[in-house]
Symmetry: C2
Subunit: 123 residues, 2 copies
């Protein structure tokens, strides 16, 4: 028997603000494009419409990605993590994902970490 | 002039609990492995030690990934997003990333979305 949309959404553990983190990944190249936030209604719209909708924490409103910029995200897949508090969305990204014009929101700022040794030495 | 570790950490916008979301990605295959949380000290340890350390919200303690399981994450890169509130870590994952034994934390639960139309039709 196929689960209803409400049964699927009921498996999500939303935080104390009613939100869940949504990682957005280009489905074929596997680039991580951005991290957004969704409440139950944004997730419902995303899972049922084929277009990614977030909840904007700064503007306190729904935000269907690309409605103003044209840089839409078309849904190709959606997964929930093992403890139910993160969503991975696989999308077809049209144009740059980032409002700054870069392909992903992670392109501009390198935190320049110390790179670890090979696992055989680190274990 | 090279930035200090404190200057880099100062660019991060931590939430009202002092945490930032950290997406962990296998550096070569680009699989999204998991989402964890870091406070400033967990991020400092991650950026300076070559091993990924989280803040466990459920246990309220630092958690260096793999110390009990052996499934360590060796740091290969770290990026901050455009608004400073999400980190993307590229790692070499030893063994399964998920405590359930699957490769990633997103392997088990398909949210079965409606797949969107091709972008040319959706724009």
């Amino acid at each position: 028997m196929t689960e209803t949309i409400e049964e699927r959404i009921a498996r999500v553990t939303f935080d104390d603000k009613g939100l869940v983190a949504a990682i957005v990944q280009q489905w074929d190249t596997r680039e991580v494009l951005m991290l957004g936030w969704m409440d139950a209604e944004a997730l419902r719209r995303t899972l049922t419409s084929g277009r990614v909708t977030f909840w904007s924490r700064s503007r306190q409103e729904y935000w269907r990605k690309g409605d103003t910029s044209g840089h839409i995200q078309v849904v190709r897949g959606a997964r929930l993590d093992c403890d139910g508090d993160a969503v991975l969305l696989q999308v077809e990204q049209v144009g740059p994902a980032c409002h700054t014009g870069t392909r992903t929101c992670f392109d501009a700022d390198d935190l320049d970490p110390v790179v670890g040794p090979d696992p055989v030495d680190a274990s």
